[in-house]
Amino acid sequence: MSKENPTALERFIWGIIPENPIFRQVLGTCPALAVSTDIKAALTMTCATAFVLICANTIISLIRHLLKPHLRIVVFVLTIASFVTIVDYLLAAFYYSMSLQLGPYVPLIIVNCIIICRCEVCASKQSVGVAISDAIGQSLGFGLALVSMASFREILGSGTWCGFRIMPDSWPNWVLMLLPPGAFFVFGFLIGAVNWFTSLKKNKSS
């Protein structure tokens, strides 16, 4: 998976599973752990991150010939920070309760390693179309990871999924899953599970 210039489709597919930003590259772990207590928060976070990622990738890809090597990180960070400010104010204007729940984790998208990594690896080298499809693929991968973690935590922790009760009433809510330790455990075991499936596939094909 180390070709010089991957095509748009390859970039798109890699983002979802083979190079999943959270499980395979272990980037952007901070929102994955912090906002995966319930599905709604996870989906909102995914949308916010996807918006910033797509916009930042597009802009960086458009100005990639103007970038100076030693200043590029600063340019990346300032571009991202502008879009994050937009998202922060939009969220506060149209979905205030969620804005309160996510709190400081929305401005923290600025330092989400996934976005800087994508700007560096893809957008600053390839054309706009590839950069956009890469951003969409990575966002889908990020969303997949966040939603799978949030499903585990919400079902085990409060017996609901996206607000609907699915566990029997006798289910004692496993509150630990909603607390910080639960986040670490679920994340650790999910990374283990993804690695295990990948190694199974490799054994089968060889």
Partner: protein, 228 residues
Amino acid sequence: MDLIGLFLLAFNATLINNYVLHYFVGICAYIGVSKRIEMAFGMGCAVTFVMGVAAMLSWSAIYFLLQPGAPLTSFIFKTIHPGSDSVVNLSVLNSIVSIFVIASSVQLVEMYIRKFFPALYKAFGVYLPLITTNCAILFACIEIMKHVGKNAVEPWGLDKALLLAISAGMGFTLAIVLMAGIREDLENADVPAPLQGPGITLITAGIFAMAFMGFTGIDRGLAVLFGR
């Protein structure tokens, strides 16, 4: 001086709401640089230092330039538009200015370490510039942001902002050094192949987080003890 208040703030930031184990910020560095104790300690010190510098600078920037009716920008505005009575509010720039301040302080630390500790500079490698994207520092700045200005519920001075940054950095150092100690021994353990690397580190961090949950509520007890 409100010494007890300051002590409670520091205790809270270091142990009860530990940045890594309670707010999950700075996990990238926590997993990446926690293989050796010396490196972990160096990283913790670098992060603490950057956090302190960034907290001071961003507090000053927000207080003097960005908050609604900030003195410096109001002065400039009044000079340009004499007689106008609207209030200047640049708080939309809060996060952008904070991240800019952080990036500059990281550059400073990088130059300092490269000049005076070349060995440490080599050992850090890519993780040194990555301090810029360490969520813990921006998180501290956001926390301070909430407490600056006349509209804040509980306005903080520069002393409290700096203390919060230093104690949060100490909490980060504590957590990362503890984890490095465990990981040095973990190398001899027989970990199942899929869990090796980040997997087992995260599960260990979960156990740490459970241990740190034991501090919950101590701040209230201490506050009662000191008669507040």
